[in-house]
């Protein structure tokens, strides 16, 4: 099932404070503490059971670097 929304990370704002990486299992953390989307890029597709966690991450990111946007169609 493909996700219809994605958690978008604004890299110009993110300071790698690791709030979102604790909340969303789909996010790793690189060696500098910044979030890592599996497969790269700035958008983490939000699976159904992750909707709440994604909302929490958006609300809690200390620098407002996160937003929810429609997922780009996957090829």
């Amino acid at each position: 099932m493909s996700a219809s929304t994605a958690l978008h990370i604004d890299w110009t704002r993110c300071r790698g404070r690791g709030m979102c990486t604790e909340l969303l299992t789909g996010l790793g953390r690189d060696e500098w503490g910044y979030p890592l989307v599996a497969g790269g890029g700035s958008d983490l597709p939000i699976r159904t059971h992750d909707v709440e966690a994604a909302d929490d991450a958006v609300a809690l990111c200390p620098v407002l670097a996160l937003s929810i946007r429609p997922a780009r169609p996957t090829r």
């Binding site: 300071r15 790698g16 404070r17 604790e22 500098w32 809690l60 200390p62 407002l64």
Partner: protein, 185 residues
Amino acid sequence: MTEAFWALGRASGVVLLLLMTVSMLLGLLTRSGRPLVRLPRFGVLLAHRNIALLSVVFLGVHVVSLLLDPYAQLKLIDVVVPFGAARAPIAVGLGAVALDLMLAVAITALLRRRLGHRVFRVVHWAAYVLWPIALLHGVTAGSDGRSLPFLALSAFTATAVGAAVVWRMTDHFVEYRRIRTEPAR
């Protein structure tokens, strides 16, 4: 009955000092991006937010009880406009300054997503000014402000917040700082 208002005003002041101290410490820990032993980073942030909001509630209790205490001779305007109170204008005025700053910090934090990160961040810095002013207000305006137990508590909280602020200014404050090459912000 009037005694009760005075007692409540005094007790809520002491609670406020404790809540504001813990809020400062958790806020600084949030800024460092570090978890607290078993508490994850978002838990530290939520604890900071909730304790800070609880201190706003206690500020309400503090103000209302002292408005109702006839001995304090406090008028509503003295609560928000500093240095005009009939009794102890300077000491009470410090409390008014702290209250104004606290409301500004709380409101901009609650409206953070609407106001944007910049406004939030700049106003949030007022916490570093507000905390010592509030402490000074406690020592100068409190009817037992210069008693040994309160002075000991004040010294203890000031040491804790002071140490956290010193830590804030060191190189190792931010997690991953050692391996990041970007300039600190």
